[in-house]
């Protein structure tokens, strides 16, 4: 981005027509957003890994139940999946 992004502040205590103020983001706010972006990506990766781990554990548990002789219907009945 070459243009500095802005924030639009709507002050609801003021009369209509006088509420809106467009303010360029400060260097500190831009840095905060960059930190937020990096954290969001880390959060996304962590969530996806946690979900992948959960699904892998679920599949492994079903295999073990099947090895014990349970049918697919019986496994579904006790696991709900």
């Amino acid at each position: 981005m070459t243009e500095i992004p802005t924030k639009l502040v709507i002050d609801l205590s003021k009369p209509e027509g006088q509420r809106e103020q467009v303010i360029p983001l400060t260097a500190e706010e831009i840095a905060e957003r960059e930190r937020m972006v990096a954290q969001a990506e880390l959060d996304r990766i962590a969530r996806e890994q946690a979900e992948a781990d959960r699904l892998a554990a679920q599949a492994a548990a079903k295999e073990k139940l099947a090895a014990l002789g349970l049918t697919a219907e019986e496994i579904a009945a006790i696991t709900g999946a």
Binding site: K7, R33, Q39, A40
Partner: protein, 168 residues
Amino acid sequence: MPMTLVGTVELPSSTTNSIQFTNIPQTGKELIAVASCRSTVAGIQDALALFINDVTTASYNEIRLRGLGGSTNALQSTGSTRIQYPVLAASGATANIFGNTSYRFLNYTNSNHKQIVIESVGENNAASAHQIIVNGYLNTSAITKLEFADISGNVFVQYSSISLYILS
């Protein structure tokens, strides 16, 4: 309960990263926000981050139920620094579509932790994602400010809009 529009904005250009409503009237029982936004960031979808009262500490718990194409899933997170699951259409999505989200802030003026129910959809015509989100905001202060931001750090496209209503 009567529903009153207290503020609305439609962006005249693609230069804004953050839309903030301040000094929200404390005269209602519930607060409703309706957002229709698209980001300039690459990709199909982005996230519309929401901060309440400038709180950016670990104060937001979320559980999300999502339908994405032919699959569904549920995700949860605790101790987030923002509400982060609502979708925002991005530049790779079908032309001229927006991510649409409604927020319902229950008992927003009281002195208990707040409950927020969110319904959000990214209307990409190739594979839509519809999600319902329940959020707990772990703060007892009345809600007086809402900030909606493009989590990618990019900007909202022209004609993105957000409206705020109170139910009284």
